[in-house]
């Protein structure tokens, strides 16, 4: 691990919605690095466009971030497919639809679509990062990771309770994930936000890996009346998206070695 890059990462992580502008001394004090080192770091980061220098010598995130993120989104094949599915769900149910992926320890929202009679979920715009427990998409994504990995993630960042319903014990979470993986969908019964429920399902790629999760968010009073309606809709769409990505759902045994599958695949270029 290169020290310089790690420090650059620490600096970038300081920039948030609440505090989007930092000075050299400020950064140095926060991260306990010498002022001159920070100066070199931010100057270099500004030079490659990840930061930009204001006229007063302070620093903000650079516009090249936008460029990179667009390249990422456009080159991610599944996203175009997923988008179509999201539009179908939004049109059919009229609720808010989310697309999420796993980035290290956190769930990142990759896309969002508001239905015509949707509640506005302010905190879940694209790019927002949330811990994996508690949200329906988080459960789906984590349910397909090895258990020891889930444990270390939970240990590292704890299991904060967002509402009274949030799962906060590791044992309960293990049971929940097992059920989610088995039945192919996850619910969020007001575990993240009160009065808001979600149903989520996984999206598989051609190699049978879970690469994303899609969810529909519905006000609790509406959701509780017919949860299976939302669950079935999201599962149906996710299955179709997965199939369009080359997933073959025939596998009765999901633990098949992916190498064999890959060996039979034609080369992608």
């Amino acid at each position: 691990m290169l020290n310089t890059i790690l420090k650059a990462g620490q600096i970038l992580d300081l920039f948030s919605f609440d505090k989007s502008e930092w000075g050299v001394s400020e950064i140095a004090a926060t991260l306990d690095i010498s002022k001159s080192s920070v100066y070199d770091l931010v100057a270099s980061l500004a030079h490659i466009g990840l930061l930009q220098r204001t006229e007063q010598g302070r620093y903000r995130l650079g516009w090249r971030m936008l460029t990179y993120s667009q390249i990422l989104l456009q080159s991610t094949e599944f996203r175009a497919e997923a988008r179509k599915g999201m539009e179908d769900v939004a049109a059919e149910l009229g609720e808010t639809v989310h697309l999420a992926v796993l980035d290290g320890n956190m769930v990142v929202y990759a896309d969002k679509l508001q239905g015509h009679n949707a509640v506005h979920v302010a905190v879940t715009n694209s790019g927002v990062r949330l811990p994996g427990h508690g949200s329906a998409v988080g459960k789906v994504l984590l349910s397909h990771r090895p258990w020891h990995e889930v444990v270390s993630i939970m240990e590292e960042q704890g299991m904060t309770a967002f509402t009274a319903n949030t799962i906060t014990s590791i044992e309960a979470f293990r049971d929940e994930l097992e059920q989610v993986r088995k039945q192919g969908y996850a619910y969020d019964m007001e575990e993240t936000v009160v009065d808001l429920c979600c149903a989520a399902a996984p999206i598989f790629d051609f190699a049978g890996q879970v690469i994303a999760a899609m969810s529909v968010s519905v006000p609790a009073y509406r959701f509780e009346r017919q949860p299976t309606l939302y669950r079935n809709a999201i599962m149906r769409v996710c299955r179709r998206v997965s199939r369009n990505l080359g997933y073959v759902p025939a596998h009765s045994n999901p633990n098949v070695d992916t190498k064999e599958v890959l060996a039979h695949e034609s080369k992608r270029t």
Copy 2:
């Protein structure tokens, strides 16, 4: 300038829409860096989330890019204001509206909105970077930079002709920029794309600095019939956006020292 960061920047710049996945050896050969160094670099970049490792040990841009870009966009106050203006223009004229900022030597599109009878300009999505000469927004942004800076930018990247109308001589460009600055708007008469014309105007912040440019893109046959209609609409909206950002257009002399203006401003935190 820190070597490590510069190399990280070179690596990140390799990732494009056409080639969004790179291997270690591939990067090493392209940038003429030793394979082991590249390995350390990409592993570190993946660790801080700017890259992600595929299962085969190749690398793609990381999802944290999306997070950073969202923070950038949401924390850029002017963007919310500009968005309102863009919606007004799109509603009034029904054409495609662009918002652009200057990032080093390049013009970056920060936002885009399609009008109801708009032509589709495929190459100008958010995040796309283009050279400054030739486009209307580029002229507007560059017209408020010191001339020697414009010269060095043009010398560095040349003045490629996109169409027969593109300005390719530095003298003609100086005259054009002078006129643009004086009259407060810029035209693009099929200088970037044939059959497409634009009108652009600057957006000022509270300190009187040009921080962005907004443009409307119209098919040439429609534009040529009444160019002043589009010019006036875009200027009117840009003036309003600037005013909402705290710009005081009263200055009869635009060369007033900004320090005085800043001294009268209350502290922003």
